[in-house]
Symmetry: D2
Subunit: 335 residues, 4 copies
């Protein structure tokens, strides 16, 4: 049983803490938050300790691994501190919004031999993973095209957006990682367009976007299309389509149940999709922790490492440059 502490008791920290506490093969030793009462409430509910300080967590030999779910701006600092303390660490994405800071962080932790996993949970979705496993098993022959559809049900509040780093870094970053996972190869070129079609104010006030389309290419010519929207009236849309020489595989959406309705207006109407990532990727959040624990316990590398976090950020950098210069950008230009 891997004994863990969770840093940060916001929405995502609480979600991870609960998943750890309930898991038969994981143990939640402590939670920590700058806001003591918040940490204590979570600790009380989940039956663990609320640490009084970060040092208390890092100095506790009973704690094998630390999950970092603090605000994005603190991720890099936390990674450096936890790595220096010699604990295995799982950090929510992104490492940092600034590539320079990420590079600095990479240098800082280079000497420490601790397992590090980045929270790209979609790789652990049962459907996405089965689809990629099938491709790897040769089921559709050489892979030629990947199409990723990724649309959020609701645009987040402006306060969130101001800190989020922009559509391509905040939302598409997951799709960039999924693209790399599905392509099983590095995209070397990116072309992107982005706009504020849903809420034009978003563009005017924040310079942000809510709608985007991208094309990525690998060195051997595989093509990947990503389309994004911050709003989807029909629910959270998360699909991956994989076209190969000898077939096609689709990882489709999940619904609240399997009921189909038939009426005068139409037939076979399926139930709404699972509302958002906390519902759709609920199992994936657990599976990524299981994968992390298995890596830590076996000494094998984590399935999604620090480098994966860097690559997703680079792709976002390249995409922003493409939006600005209206051209295909080689990823090495920004790396």
């Amino acid at each position: 049983m891997l004994k863990m502490a969770v840093l940060g008791c916001g929405r995502i920290g609480k979600l991870h803490a609960e998943n750890i506490a309930r898991h038969p093969r994981l143990g939640l030793e402590a939670v920590y938050d700058l806001d003591g009462p918040t940490a204590r409430a979570v600790a009380d509910r989940l039956g663990c300790r609320a640490a009084a300080s970060l040092d208390e967590v890092l100095g506790d030999d009973a704690i094998d691994a630390v999950l970092i779910a603090t605000p994005t701006s603190t991720h890099a600092d936390m990674i450096e501190t936890v790595a220096a303390a010699g604990k295995a660490l799982f950090c929510e994405k992104p490492i940092d919004l600034d590539p320079a800071r990420v590079e600095q962080c990479a240098a800082a932790i280079a000497g420490y031999d601790v397992p590090i996993q980045i929270g790209f949970n979609r790789r652990f979705d049962r459907g996405h993973r089965a689809a990629r496993d099938a491709v790897r098993a040769g089921e559709i022959g050489d892979l030629h095209q990947v199409i990723i559809t990724s649309r959020d049900p609701l645009i987040p509040p402006k306060d969130h957006l101001k800190l989020a780093g922009g559509l391509l870094r905040d939302m598409t970053t997951h799709d960039f990682d999924l693209a790399r996972f599905m392509l099983d190869d590095e995209p070397v070129e990116v072309f992107a367009v982005a706009a504020a079609l849903v809420d034009p104010e978003l563009g005017r006030e924040l310079g942000d976007h809510d709608t985007a389309m991208m094309i990525l290419r690998t060195a051997d010519g595989k093509m990947c299309h990503i389309n994004n929207s911050r709003t989807s009236a029909y629910g959270y849309d998360q699909r991956v389509e994989l076209l190969g020489r000898s077939g096609m595989i689709l990882s489709d959406n999940r619904r609240v149940n399997e009921v189909r309705r038939f009426g005068a207006a139409g037939t076979e109407m399926a139930s709404p999709y699972l509302h958002f990532f906390t519902e759709r990727y609920l199992e994936a959040f657990v599976a990524e922790l299981e994968s992390f624990a298995a890596a830590v316990e076996s000494g094998r590398p984590c399935e999604v490492g620090f480098e994966d976090g860097c690559r997703a950020l680079l792709l976002a950098q390249a995409a922003y440059l493409s939006v600005k210069e209206r051209r295909l950008v080689r990823v090495e230009e920004v790396g």
Copy 2:
């Protein structure tokens, strides 16, 4: 090219006449109807002759085959007359509502060696046929269960119902034939329940039903369920499910187009089903004529013969006896 005449220019007669006239390998020589102007209107539109009498049709050596689409009560007479004239004949179902009359007709035509086909068109539906072909090809191993769902979009007017012979003879007769086709064997036992749930007046005034469920069995134990409704708010529902030892095959409904709609109320909503039999079985109406022509021209027996018409009627007889006596009825009891 098989040259045909059509007797009876009602809805179904016109449909057949059009299919013949437009078909590149069939020729429509003449149409005939007791009501002259009706026949002439059809003839003018389709570019054929309106025969002045039945004798004119039967005496015309240019006519190879006759399609009987006159009222049900005249079918048996027409069959006898056309057979006596030595023409190949295609007769709309049913042969007659009275089993004694059917038997008499069988005896009357026993001596004539003319091709006879009964208009059980559903056997020629591309999906139903592909499903049955797959079973015959051994795709699902031994067949164990057949489930036929058959629901009309709208209850017909009372005037039609008064002459139709009752739900099980008018509507279920198609399903009885389809059951025999799918089972590839004779049902020997029938159990049925029937009620007027949609329109209770139907029961009180006409002693008719609008909702029914049946179970049929073959001698070697295969089971078949049929369910019927005279009304279906979501459209014409025509499905056949075939369960075998090593798999299952479903012949599903057809829709007006392949559009799917996604909204807040639900996802993947398909378009309405094809409205009714003239739409859903449009191609099957053509295919049954092609099969008839091929049989006549090749000298092979028709795919759906007089005996098939008799068997469907016997099953209806047995079903009515079952409804009345509330028990499983052996078909031989009514044969």
Copy 3:
């Protein structure tokens, strides 16, 4: 938090014990099994006590409720004993295979005012429940027809079958309960056919069946069809179709994931269905415990009571009489 003990540590007892142990609002105090080592192994794994005797469980004031998962033949005794001890009780189906024993048990517990729930878990399936809620909410108007498809992936071993009480009592009992739940009314008539088509030896040696079809009717004429098979080459098939005056609702199967495959042989091939009841009804097993706990804690009646257990058994009785006498049987004949 409802504190529970589990009697019987076989497959289903272990499943319930795990669900209780992991549930944030349920507590597993003790498990008990005639075979001590089995109980201890479960207790150790789940972190609870292995009771040395049934009396120890019943005498423990810390235990609010007892879940009976002992062999079927002991259910009625256990129900009487636990009820007499004043504990809330949840008993796996069936109460007993012998209707006389069930009646005797009913009489024995008549005086005790303890909450009793029977383990008909399918009512708690998210899809089935949503479908029935939609019908209750008037979404399809008056309900006319219910079609329940229920096919197991694999025929159980003969040793299991010898004790199981026959197809209609062991397997169909779930469908009878589901029929009552969906009809929201009592079936008053039953017609059934059953055979050993999958494994004819089953019929010859045990007088048992592996394939069945039934029709049930309520007093106001609603019809319900059930079809069963002990083997399904394409996986566990659990569907409910509800036809009403103004629409239709289908509660469809659940699959291992949402992947679709497209190849030369066919398109849109979905993943296999969830393997069997422990997978398909995994959430329903939890939901029924939550419902039980809510009933016990609120003092409201359990959603599935002793009477529901009796009704399902009566329907099985009536179905067996129908198979034997080949006729529609009124349920009151066997009640």
Copy 4:
């Protein structure tokens, strides 16, 4: 009844000739082909005249309209000649592969007031059209994204490819037209990547491509993605997805029948898609002729005019420039 002649009796000319000959409201007067015997064979089969020369067709007052299905390289000449003769004309796509020749042709016919329709048949597909009608009716609010998937089942022979003008002009031209139809607006910017992934020889020998991805934008920011492949192991794939502010609409593929197969390998496997454009767009080929006839007879403009043919070619030009210069290209750069 519109009386027509067909010029060119190759595959597509024969298809049109048959559709005209069989249509109750269209008349096939004559066919013409440089190869006399070919024309006579078609004429004999369809019961029309084989014209001895183009002049014979153009001088025949009984002929209202001419359908041009000669080789692509002759389209522009034919258009000019037929227009000069004052006949309504329907010309297969493309007008010409060379934009300068198209412009010249436009100038040449500017003075003639004859109805002209270009053979972009996909607009007339029942599903695509219903989807676009729904968008126009406001069903999904403002349109934000269009995703067009277009994959041929089989790469054509090299001899065909040598004359076809390249993937983006030969195949994608249909998708460009469909994009314009769906967007209901002009794309003003194009980005494209293209490669020879299926058959690298195609690239080396012909400088052609077999796989492509594109992004188009309209002036008000609507985005459209097109993906193409010359080979699709699972059949002809023709989908259009329309994302709007308040919903999504998908025009999905059509299958050979509605059979679904269930086995150990998977469930709900649908039948193969309709093989290629002559099957999938069979009805659309008829519908475009009906639309043409209605325009000619009513004096309304054709639904797909000369200008539409020009716009699709411009988009292909822009796409090729984008592939070459690896940047977003404004369509006006090539116009």
